[in-house]
């Protein structure tokens, strides 16, 4: 049964495995169980996947209820092609450690950049403050 052809409706996606990207940058993978008109999602057997470089780690999270406005995008995962990835899965501890290292490196480079700009008399607004507006 074709629900609303030509439109983007989530009804056809129910009970299928999805990858959901949230506004805060998290990636969730789970079975989409229920939706509503605001695209609030109920994800079942959800796993939060953290990607660092070529590695990723999965943290099982259970049932997620996501408020629609926080979803950036979502897409159905083809179960047959799911394992067909060049990425390497690692343990949770390892990936968290990698993530921490990456965050640190980013922060340091950011600091250097801001320093350099300050020396030249320029000021760049921080991205997170921009986000508010």
């Amino acid at each position: 049964m074709n629900y609303m052809p030509g439109t983007a409706s989530l009804i056809q996606d129910i009970d299928k495995k999805h990858l959901v990207l949230l506004r805060d940058g998290r990636t969730l993978i789970g079975y989409l169980r229920s939706i509503d008109q605001f695209a609030n999602l109920v994800l079942h057997q959800t796993v939060e996947r953290i990607h660092v470089g070529k590695k990723y780690g999965d943290i099982p999270r259970g049932i997620f209820v996501v408020r629609g406005e926080n979803v950036v995008l979502l897409g159905e995962i083809d179960l047959e092609k799911e394992s067909d990835t060049p990425l390497q899965q690692v343990s949770i501890e390892e990936i968290l450690e990698e993530q921490r290292v990456e965050q640190q490196a980013k922060q340091e480079s950011e600091k250097l950049k801001v320093q350099a700009l300050k020396e030249r008399g320029l000021c760049v607004p921080r991205a997170d403050t921009l986000d508010e507006y």
């Binding site: 049964m1 609303m4 605001f38």
Partner: protein
């Protein structure tokens, strides 16, 4: 008692004299005043007296109910099976009733709050209210009633102990209707409805009903404990199902939930779970629902709504529930499909097309789900493996079919539109293009490709609603109530424009720019309308078409006037207005879009004005670099121009005096033109057009010919002079320039020109 007549007489300072004075007055007190000091003075707490009276009243009520069902002519208990349970509950509660502490607590809250309530005075008979509390204590009250809604200040029910304080903190007026505005929606439009549709609802909400109907309601639907539960009850403890002694509180809904119920009913929407329960249209009551069903579905079920709705609808006739659902979400497998008995959900409020669509879908879905292998979807074989997986997936179909229908119904409703071209322009255009493509493909003989299912959006007729402010009969004049639809001027703000002297030059410039911006916007609207006429033309009837054409012409004239500035006389002395528009990026784009609609003379006029002031424009365009957008429309215009115009154009472009023996040492105009991409390209275009005309048309006048020749000579001279580095890169180099120059210069210079301007093909 005091001698002082007014406050001013009272001494501010407490001094001995005052005290003495007071002491003297004590003596004046009438010691023999019976009421104050004598026998008449009953040192009694009025509250306690009230309680006692209440107690007295309750006892006969309670005792009356203990007599049994048959004695009650109001048909208190229709269901004999539950009498025992009821009696038990009543017994327990009656003993609590005897308990003075509880009674006191109950009664103090009651009478203390009732005077505070604004509307409670309307419902004067506290006795009736008291009487209702009796049955209330014994049964679970159906969650909502008209009164609750209409009396937001009504005190909470006595068994409210478990209500969290936050609910009481809710502002009571949040759902009270305000006269003069549309009925308040305490519920956001998209919330799942808890009520079935009751069309004639609104009036009854706003006009409070007398009390006795409520009592009737109570007595009509005495369901057994387990069956009648409010969502609160469900939320609190589903384990209490079947438990005869409610130690949880009597289910008074939170304010919001109450409003939701009624908001939902008002809107006339039904949650998917309601589809099951409505066994017909408005009139019939919703049967009481199986409690087991309620267990798994907290917050979605509205069983108490049954009684409520029936109250407004039809005579009571509680049929048994037609739907038997297995309990718990876990077992929601295919067996959960709706039973063969056709229930028809109330879709009277939907547009007929929409309704048909919805029913079609429902039938389709039913037929689909009956066949296990059935998947009428697009992806045939590939699907089957998924189907199997779904069958094995124990958590599948947590979202019921009717819930999916409900969501898609909401989405369809959002698509309703009176003017799809206005609301959803890009979607309409996109689909038109798609259709054209597929039609074109069909024409090629491939045959119709796979049937693309089209979405039929419900069309809603445009209704004109004129707002009439609320009027009361018999009152003089109109109400001075302002609302969203009927705003009133609250502040006398007067706009004063400053005199010219005060303004500085900057402000004048700013104002002028603003005016130009406004002109551009107005002209843009005209342009969009004109562009749209083609479509309207196709949609309109034969008789209307001339009128449409006339309108279109008029608008084009208006646009042109806007562009050039309305001149009182025949000629337009200044290009000032036009220049202002051309200085703004949007203005340039506007001109580019308008040009196709203008008549040749008007278009030529625009071209001339542009050419005349090109250096100025080039300077202004340095940052935007939007001028090249004008090239294409200009070239179209050029195509229709006669030689004379072209000649004068060249003249304008090059700004060479018509008959000067020798040109000025530096021709800044031409230099600027040549150094700019747009300028050079335009020059090339004009020259090429001139060449075309020359070569093709043999009947040109001699005069014009001479003019042209002279101009060309001068132009080529200039071109030769300018260093190559200074030349801009044109958008395109027309092919006939070589032949053009070959007429006027000798071979050597021609070669020079060739290399300079890269006129030879293959280099560019």
């Amino acid at each position: 008692m005091f001698r002082y007549q007014s406050l001013e007489d009272c001494p501010l300072d407490e001094d001995e004299d005052a005290f003495q004075g007071l002491g003297e007055e004590d003596e004046d007190i009438d010691q023999f005043n019976d009421d104050t000091f004598g026998a008449g003075a009953v040192d009694d707490d009025w509250q306690e007296a009230h309680e006692r009276l209440a107690e007295l009243e309750d006892k006969p009520v309670a005792s009356r109910e203990q007599d049994g069902p048959s004695s009650e002519d109001l048909d208190l208990l229709g269901d004999p099976e539950d009498t025992l349970a009821e009696r038990l509950t009543r017994l327990v509660i009656d003993s609590e009733l005897e308990d003075p502490a509880i009674m006191q607590a109950v009664q103090t809250r009651g009478p203390a709050q009732q005077p505070g309530g604004l509307n409670s005075s309307i419902w004067d008979s506290s006795a009736v209210l008291r009487r209702m509390r009796g049955p209330l204590l014994t049964q679970e009250m159906p969650s909502v009633s008209v009164l609750d809604y209409a009396l937001p200040q009504r005190p909470p029910q006595p068994r409210d102990d478990e209500r969290d304080p936050s609910e009481r903190a809710l502002p009571r007026r949040s759902s009270s209707p305000v006269i003069g505005s549309p009925p308040v929606r305490a519920v956001p439009i998209g919330t799942p409805p808890k009520q079935a549709a009751v069309p004639s609802f609104n009036q009854q909400i706003l006009c409070p009903k007398p009390v006795h109907i409520r009592a009737t309601l109570q007595q009509r639907y005495p369901a057994p404990y387990g069956e009648r539960m409010s969502p609160n009850q469900l939320c609190n403890n589903s384990s209490l199902l079947g438990h005869p002694f409610p130690h949880s509180v009597s289910p008074v809904l939170t304010h919001l939930q109450r409003a939701q119920l009624l908001g939902g009913a008002q809107a006339g929407r039904m949650s998917p779970s309601q589809f099951a329960r409505v066994s017909g249209l408005v009139g019939s009551p919703i049967p009481s629902v199986n409690p087991k069903l309620l267990q798994g579905r907290v917050g979605q079920m509205m069983p108490p709504a049954s009684g409520f709705r029936a109250f407004f609808g039809a005579p009571p006739a509680p049929p048994p529930s037609q739907l038997q659902h297995p309990p718990g979400p876990g077992s929601h497998l295919q067996s959960l499909r709706p039973q063969p008995q056709m229930f028809r959900p109330d879709t009277t409020h939907l547009h007929p097309q929409h309704r048909r669509l919805l029913h079609q879908r429902q039938q389709q879905s039913r037929s689909q789900h009956r066949s296990l292998n059935g998947s009428v979807g697009d992806r045939g074989g590939h699907r089957s493996s998924h189907q199997e997986q779904m069958r094995k997936d124990p958590y599948a179909n947590l979202m019921l079919q009717r819930e999916k229908d409900w969501v898609s119904k909401i989405q369809m409703m959002q698509l309703q539109s009176t003017d799809p071209y206005l609301d959803d322009y890009y979607y309409q255009n996109y689909f038109q293009k798609l259709e054209k493509l597929s039609a074109a493909e069909e024409v090629h003989g491939d045959g119709p490709k796979k049937e693309r299912t089209k979405l039929i959006t419900p069309q809603v007729a445009k209704l004109e609603h004129t707002y009439k402010p609320v009027q009361f009969e018999g009152s003089l004049g109109k109400l001075t109530v302002s609302s969203v639809n009927n705003p009133r001027k609250m502040i006398d703000a007067v706009v004063t424009s400053r005199s010219e002297d005060d303004e500085t030059k900057e402000k004048q410039v700013r104002d002028k720019r603003r005016q130009t911006l406004v002109t551009i916007e107005k002209t843009y609207s005209l342009l969009l309308d004109v562009e749209d006429y083609e479509r309207r033309y196709l949609l309109s009837l034969e008789g209307e078409r001339p009128a449409l054409m006339g309108e279109r012409k008029q608008k084009i004239c208006d646009m042109y006037d806007n562009l050039r500035g309305k001149a009182p006389g025949q000629d337009r002395p200044s290009d000032d207005h036009f220049m202002q528009i051309m200085c703004i990026r949007k203005g340039k784009r506007l001109v580019a879009r308008i040009l196709p609609f203008l008549s040749p003379e008007q278009a030529a006029d625009v071209l001339m004005a542009t050419a005349r002031n090109l250096p100025f424009l080039i300077k202004k365009d340095a940052q935007d670099e939007v001028l090249p957008c004008l090239l294409r429309p200009f070239s179209h215009v050029l195509y229709h121009l006669p030689l004379g115009t072209v000649t004068s154009l060249v003249q304008q472009l090059t700004n060479l005096p018509q008959s000067a023996p020798a040109p000025a040492p530096t021709n800044l105009h031409l230099t600027a033109v040549l150094q700019n991409k747009f300028g050079l390209s335009l020059l090339y275009l004009v020259l090429s057009r001139g060449e075309e005309l020359q070569s093709s048309d043999t009947n040109t006048e001699l005069m014009q010919d001479n003019q042209w020749t002279e101009l060309m000579l001068m132009a080529t001279r200039e071109l030769l002079r300018i260093p190559q580095a200074a030349l801009a890169k044109p958008v395109s180099t027309p092919s006939n320039l070589l032949s053009l120059f070959s007429r006027y210069v000798d071979q050597q210079k021609l070669n020079l020109l060739e290399t300079k301007l890269h006129l030879v093909h293959g280099i560019r």
